[in-house]
């Protein structure tokens, strides 16, 4: 009976095989499988592709990069274990990862204790506000999406809106952050409706909004199928007030789900969605089209915003290692913080001691759906 216990102990002692001779080791833990795999899968593919690319071009500081990537399946507990493993066992100089806010939050504590720079791929503003010394992130925040939408509304003279939000994590978070900044744009919410993540019909909520006197625009904060249903119901009810969607549905799948009713819908999206619409003199043109082309050739699937986050994280990290002049965690951290004018797929990054995100509103493009495809809105 005790044999099994001894075997268990022996396996525990031996553990994983000893690490290979190190070049510059960069660690990653993303959610390749599990509920967040639509984020983690393109992220992991992007990281692997870019490391190959960078090494083929001679690496950084004359050394090759070795990527140690684990799949945390979206489980924060696993993410924490893998972060510990990356730092203690693989002895990486920096970590990229945390596809979701939950996994990021549990990695943040580990990197803070071990003093290893960490670039997160998750959306929540709490990751960089308040600023944590060792944590950075590349994705724009919900608050920035709200700001972009309100900026557009303000320019169109809209001052009174109706809101309809999903009650899931994304919808609730965006709803909260939109309300925090809406006053800065002189816009007020006259009517505030919600729907459940699995609801199949939002006609009642939209009828309420339609019936409300003075509503000049409708904003739908949501993720997944909800916004597509809202858009279809919006079309069925023949509502004339303009509809704004969030960056949560900035994908081709949304246009297909929502059907013809989606024509005229406006939403903030990233440059990669409209790569073919970017002008040659756009600052992001070269980076976005190069990444899109390489990714689509390598994987055969369309490039996504999420892969873009991973692209920016790795490029930013390698760029910082180059500027630091040595592959030491503290030096790399300082170099990341001093990043200025780094052009990524998501936007132009200017970090500082008080801003570990470094993006401004130009990271978002206001898009409009026209004839079943994206167009740049004005």
């Amino acid at each position: 009976m005790n044999f099994a216990l001894r075997t268990a102990a022996a396996v525990l002692l031996l553990g994983a095989a000893s690490p290979a001779l190190a070049d510059i080791k960069i660690g990653a833990t993303v959610s390749e499988t599990g509920p967040a795999s639509s984020l983690g899968d393109p992220e992991a593919k992007t990281l692997r592709m870019l490391v190959e690319e960078i090494n083929a071009a001679g690496g950084v500081l004359g050394e090759k990069i070795e990527l140690v990537a684990y799949d945390d399946a979206g489980d924060p507990n696993k993410a924490r274990t893998f972060a510990t493993r990356l730092i203690e066992d693989d002895e990486v100089v920096a970590i990229i990862g945390g596809s979701t806010t939950g996994t990021t939050m549990s990695i943040m504590q580990v990197v803070a204790d071990a003093e290893i720079p960490f670039i997160s791929l998750a959306g929540a503003i709490e990751i960089v506000d308040p600023v944590q010394q060792w944590t950075f992130k590349t994705p724009h925040t919900d608050r920035m999406a709200c700001a972009k939408i309100f900026e557009n509304m303000k320019a169109a003279g809209v001052t009174k809106i109706g809101m309809i939000s999903g009650s899931d994590g994304f919808g609730a978070s965006m709803h909260k952050q939109c309300l925090q900044i809406i006053g800065d744009y002189g816009i007020e919410v006259l009517i505030d409706e919600t729907y459940g993540p699995n609801d199949a019909d939002m006609t009642p909520q939209l009828t309420n909004i339609r019936g409300k006197e003075g509503v000049q625009a409708i904003l739908n904060a949501g993720f997944g199928q909800g916004p597509a249903i809202v858009t279809r119901n919006y079309g069925q009810l023949g509502i004339k007030t303009p509809l704004y969607q969030s960056h949560g549905v900035a994908s081709k799948a949304f246009i297909e789900l929502a059907g013809p009713a989606s024509n005229g819908v406006k939403l903030p999206g990233t440059a990669i969605l409209v790569a073919n619409l970017l002008k040659q003199d756009d600052p992001q043109y070269a980076v976005v089209s190069a990444y899109k082309k390489a990714y689509e050739e390598k994987t055969g699937s369309p490039a996504s915003t999420f892969g873009g986050y991973a692209h920016d994280a790795l490029r930013l990290l390698v760029d910082s290692i180059g500027r630091a002049g040595k592959a030491e965690p503290a030096a790399i951290r300082d170099a990341i913080e001093q990043t200025k004018g780094f052009v990524g797929v998501t936007g132009v990054v200017n970090m500082s001691a008080t801003d570990h995100l470094g993006l401004d509103l130009t990271a978002f493009r206001m898009l409009e759906i026209k004839d079943g495809d994206w167009a740049l809105a004005q």
Partner: protein, 318 residues
Amino acid sequence: MRLSSSKHLTLLVLAAIILIAPFGFPSNFYYRIGSLIFVNGLAVTGLVILIGFAGQISLGHAGFAGIGAYACALAPQYLGLHPALAMLLGTALSAAIAWLIGRPILRLQGYYLAVATLGFGILVSMVLANEAPITGGPDGHEVPELGLRKLLETIGLDLSNAQFWYAFTGLFLLAGTWLALNLHDSPSGRALRALHDSEIAARTVGVDVTRYKLSAFVLSAVYASLSGSLLALMNKFITPDAAGFLHSIELVTMTVLGGAGSVPGAVAGAALLTMLPQVLTVLQDYEHMILGLIMMLVMIFMPSGLVPSLSRLLRGRT
């Protein structure tokens, strides 16, 4: 009564392994894996009492782990409780809930009981995910520092964070194992095992079936709750995944893989399923396939689980 004679030996061997293993640890990562094995092992020991001793299935025990975990996250914030007291509160709450829901649902048997407990687990994780203003929702909630490590430092016992949690969770596992082993040989344990084999026979010889089933359910809920609390305090962060359906299944798998009726089997099952994913990362894309294959092979060739099958094999040789 073989186990009775080897009870102290089992405890001794377990204690020795916990004590000696760190000498072979190259880094803190191994302490972390050890602590995770102990935390899972604790919950699985509870399930051994419920599934192995009493013969009742539960697919919702992660729900109790979630209650224990969120008690440590929320009680310090809203009630101003010390995390250690929050852990006790979570345990009491889990026991009370287990007692309340156990009374009606333990009348069910087999599949019906499985589905009822499954429903309970999903309910807990849904409440934790949906009550975002209180629980932080799917993005999780921070858990305060237990502070015991600092206390130990002042009396001259200087442990690193990973070492402290290894020792602390190890002690809990030892205590849990000791309790379960004692229960196994006690009159109550025999009553439980009697109703495992045949409820009718047990009732005929005067065993209060309802009461014993309920006690086993409550006790296993306490184990799960403590394991959830420890995980939350160790990670200092918790998300509703801790209460999730997948975690429940993982716990039952560990129980069955190790050997449902065997207390050391609980630790072996927890150790196997905690370590394998770490060892198998070298296989990259085939990781999940190999993990499934190993689990299938264990169940095909060792149908009564790792520890009982291996010990039978060893006894056969001597």
